[in-house]
Amino acid sequence: MDDIITLAHGSGGKKTSQLIEEMFLPYFDNEELSKLNDGAILNGFDKIVFSTDSFVVRPFFFPGGDIGKLSVCGTVNDICMCGGEPKYLSISLIIEEGFKTENLKRIIESISKTADECNVKIVTGDTKVVERGKGDGIYINTTGIGYLKYDFLDKNRIEDGDMVIVSGNVGDHGVAVMAAREEVFESMNLVSDCMPLHELSKVILEYGNNIKILRDPTRGGIATTLNEFIEGTEIGIELFEESIPISEEVNKACEILGIDPLYSANEGKIVAVVSKNVANKVVNTLKKIKGGEKAAIIGKVTSKVKQRVVLKTSIGGTRILTKLSGSQLPRIC
């Protein structure tokens, strides 16, 4: 295998075959993929959940994850949040000429490991190599399908008195990537929460139709996700600032950067709206599972604040949380 990716690796010729045989098949091998058809023929679905996402993160490797892990988690998590059990993934790679094969290998290994972890097969894929300067190292698109296992999730079922739950500390991914990108805060322990949510979502969904809606609050953070829940409804959400779990490191980094952790991306967290009668039980169940240790009830659904997410601050004040507007940028002073 060459040490860097060249345009020839995307030509569709011998070099492409070499890339597939030496780089991809050893990691993703399964009976559907090894046929190397143009597509995979899959059996056994009644209702399916189908989702796609593209990943363009910089840097490719960050504390707690990499673009490969992220690209599997992102699509797997989207399927889980719809009540699906993810089964199959496609991986499309757009690689810039000159990309180091060594780095590609790390990314592929990470994709393979994460897919195994969530029992998902990679059954089809594509590779394109673009000229140097026409890409940004590597872009990954993943598309996934899974069985629809829980068909009751619907934001229209959210009602007055329901509770809002989060599965752990918020804001970790966005802050960790921002810190890694700028090479600041090296001494601080800022780690992305990037992880597959199949286990956590499964234990939540076992509470049946007491669970109203699930979402993984990625870009825009929990503030944006909660606004999406109440859009077009007559209800609102009241959040309790003191109950929202945020790590001390993330809080400190956000203070320095001038960004708000409630708008910072997460890649391994679930926000759920659940019936009041199961809220504590769901949290206690989550706490026993890896990645759910910091689960908490962070707010309640109320018709007192219509179509708004309102935060009760630690000093007893209130402020509105709207959707993220533009992107969060570091401030001056």
Partner: protein, 362 residues
């Protein structure tokens, strides 16, 4: 006052109860944009009694940057092989042509990079010796020392492709200017703790000595702000104006001597234009003549205007404390963070952005 002790809800409730007993109408200006944001973030206005009115002052550096300066920076971004380095807040501010901003120029292919400090800009200069790197030096006494140190480093390390576009401003002259305006109705100042870290308590003594206006140097936690409002209210009620340092954990009498020396070594005062306020004598910092090799205005022959164009935007009235953001006829109608008419809506620390983001429930 140790804010850790104070930042407890029962202490807050106690002070709110005492504040509620005052019946007199009190107007307090928070000079600093970071205070404006903290007030909104903690929901402080929502728990204060109605007779205590908080208004935003001229302390958001982006908000007071004239549109002509934004135009000049946009022009710089059009020069071949120039890399503009700037703090994030500047990226979205529209120029006099509302279709132009650094964000837009970046999308069009200009090399514009958000940095956290001018030292990052120097690193970019070292790695791009065939390009000219301009750092947009914005901010008050808080950020000016960093710019000075960057110039010093550029001189010592002979980094010749680096220059500073200094739009740094001074707090004292603008406060004097505002106090001397007609219809000045502010009863007390919440002074910026971050600026005071540099210029010291003594940098704000003139407010009390010369103008007899109660003033508190204040930190940025909820407890800091509520306690400072409480202290200001007491001084106003008892007509006993003095300067109190609430941010004692960070602010010394004489400030940070090293940072002040860095400013003095590299900068001199200049008359400067403030958006919506006007031209104020000795209110800006420009690089001394001997450092003109590192002065972007000299290197790129930038001519600075002395008269401000504000168009329809009423940001000037907002930062002079004449109107609150929601009193502007454009607020949240045609002026939003996605489509800002002026800098108070653009800057993350702007009074209008803060009002829009956090407080529209009133």
């Amino acid at each position: 006052m140790l804010w850790e002790e104070f930042n407890k809800s029962d202490a807050v409730e106690n002070i709110i109860r005492i504040l509620k007993e005052y019946k007199k109408r009190i107007t307090i200006m928070e000079v600093c944009g970071t205070h404006t944001m903290a007030i909104a973030k903690f929901g402080i206005k929502s728990i204060l009694p109605k007779n205590i009115r908080l208004i935003s002052g001229p302390g958001c550096p982006v908000c007071v940057t004239p549109v002509e300066i934004i135009d000049e920076i946009i022009k710089l971004s059009k020069i071949k092989d120039v890399i503009i380095t700037t703090y994030g807040d500047m990226i979205k501010v529209p120029g006099s042509n509302s279709d132009e901003s650094l964000e837009r120029r970046k999308a069009e292919g200009a090399d514009i990079r958000v940095v956290y400090s001018p030292m990052d800009a120097l690193e970019i200069a070292k790695k791009n010796s065939d390009k000219e790197i301009v750092f947009i030096g914005i901010g008050f006494e808080t950020t000016a020392p960093n710019s000075a140190v960057a110039v010093e480093t550029a001189i010592n390390e002979e980094i010749k492709n680096f220059s500073l576009f200094s739009i740094h401003k001074r707090v004292e002259p603008v406060l004097r200017h505002i106090i001397n305006m007609d219809n000045f109705e502010v009863n007390g100042f919440l002074c910026p703790g971050n600026v005071a870290v540099i210029i010291g308590e003594e940098g704000f003594e003139f407010l009390v000595k010369e103008y007899k206006i109660p003033s508190v140097i204040c930190g940025f936690e909820a407890g800091d702000i509520i306690y400072s409002i409480y202290r200001l209210s007491e001084m106003i009620k008892n007509n006993t104006p003095f300067l109190e340092n609430e941010y004692i954990r960070a602010v010394k009498k004489k400030g940070n001597e090293k940072a002040k020396a860095a400013i003095d070594n590299y900068f001199e005062f200049c008359d400067d234009l403030w958006r919506g306020i006007g031209f104020i004598k000795n209110s800006g910092y420009k690089l001394k003549n001997e450092y003109s090799d590192f002065d972007a205005t000299k290197k790129f022959s930038i001519e600075l205007k002395t008269c401000d164009y504000t168009g329809l935007c009423r940001c000037g009235d907002v930062i002079k404390g004449k109107i609150e953001p929601f009193e502007c006829e454009f607020f949240s109608r045609i002026c939003t963070p996605e489509n800002p008419l002026g800098p108070c809506m653009v800057s993350s620390e702007g009074a209008c952005a803060s009002e829009y983001k956090y407080s529209r429930m009133r």
